[in-house]
Symmetry: C2
Subunit: 188 residues, 2 copies
């Protein structure tokens, strides 16, 4: 048990929390530095730029989200519950650490300029993870129409995330789960 994490680690943690909570665009580098207790030059030595820090933070966040979702799936009993577990995972993931406003990956893409490769890549990886695992989990339920069902659920998940901007995020995730459940109830 190390006494205190290194500067790099603290920068990543601070960036992840603050970017997710306040949005990347409207979170100044100074805020990250202050929370991490680190000097500006240290940030640029490690990550090169604010965008570089964002890329590293989003990459780490994607891994953690992947794990959290996998854990929620593992905790579910039947095929249908495993499909809906993504919404429980969203709520659980949000409750760890500083709560995020909505989705950090969608936020990165929304706030970025059109030619921002970092944001586009991060969102693409998140989308691939969602589409892929939803497809796997949909197979036992929808058979050869698994991809079709997965795409529907991807819309609902994205909708739940966007709804977090319109209303309370916890409410949004619960509503997303209900919508997905209604979709499954009438499936086929």
């Amino acid at each position: 048990m190390t006494s205190r994490p290194g500067a790099r680690e603290r920068l990543l943690d601070a960036a992840d929390e603050l970017f997710a909570a306040g949005g990347f665009a409207s979170t100044p580098v100074d805020a990250v530095l202050a929370r991490a207790g680190v000097a500006p030059a240290t940030l640029y030595a490690h990550f090169g730029s604010k965008t570089g820090l964002q890329a590293a933070a989003l990459s780490a966040r994607l891994r953690r989200w992947d794990d959290a979702w996998a854990a929620a799936v593992a905790a579910a009993d039947d095929d249908r519950t495993r499909l809906l577990a993504v919404f429980d995972a969203l709520a659980a993931f949000r409750s760890t650490g500083t709560p995020s406003r909505w989705c950090a990956f969608l936020d990165a893409a929304a706030g970025a300029a059109d030619d921002d490769a970092v944001a586009a890549t991060a969102l693409a990886q998140d989308t691939a993870l969602l589409r892929g695992r939803l497809g796997e989990l949909a197979a036992p339920v929808a058979g050869d129409r698994a991809e079709e069902l997965a795409e529907h659920l991807l819309v609902v998940v994205s909708g739940a995330l966007a709804m977090a901007l319109r209303t309370d995020p916890d409410r949004a995730f619960a509503q997303g789960r209900a919508t997905a459940a209604a979709l499954l109830a009438g499936w086929r």
Copy 2:
């Protein structure tokens, strides 16, 4: 038929197009001024600030979206098609003028700081419009469960808008319509 619209009008048009296309946060005032062919002082004389201009532009945009959606509903034949018309309206609305990246109201809220009243108000009005009309249109289909169905559809519409960040917007809207249709097909 006036020869050339006034500066105020041109500012509103330019702001609407550029903010929707590039995002409010990453669109500098200079870009709006250049497109409108107007001097900085004129903007501040009319709207007070960049945020003031945003508020006026979003307000006008909401009215136009309202009209576009109503027109799409009026063009539909049956109850089910009227409910799904929102997706056709989204595609049609996007095809008028400079195409927007996703939803200007969600974008405003996503990019803004937590205490931004303009963005919050604009998004709240958009949400109220969606929820209200979806509820009305859902009544013939869902009866006393109209509000429940409307909330599901609000999630799907929001999902379609968020999906516009993940993939091609036209594709996203088409997928949203398909998801809503699947939901309706299994309703009850």
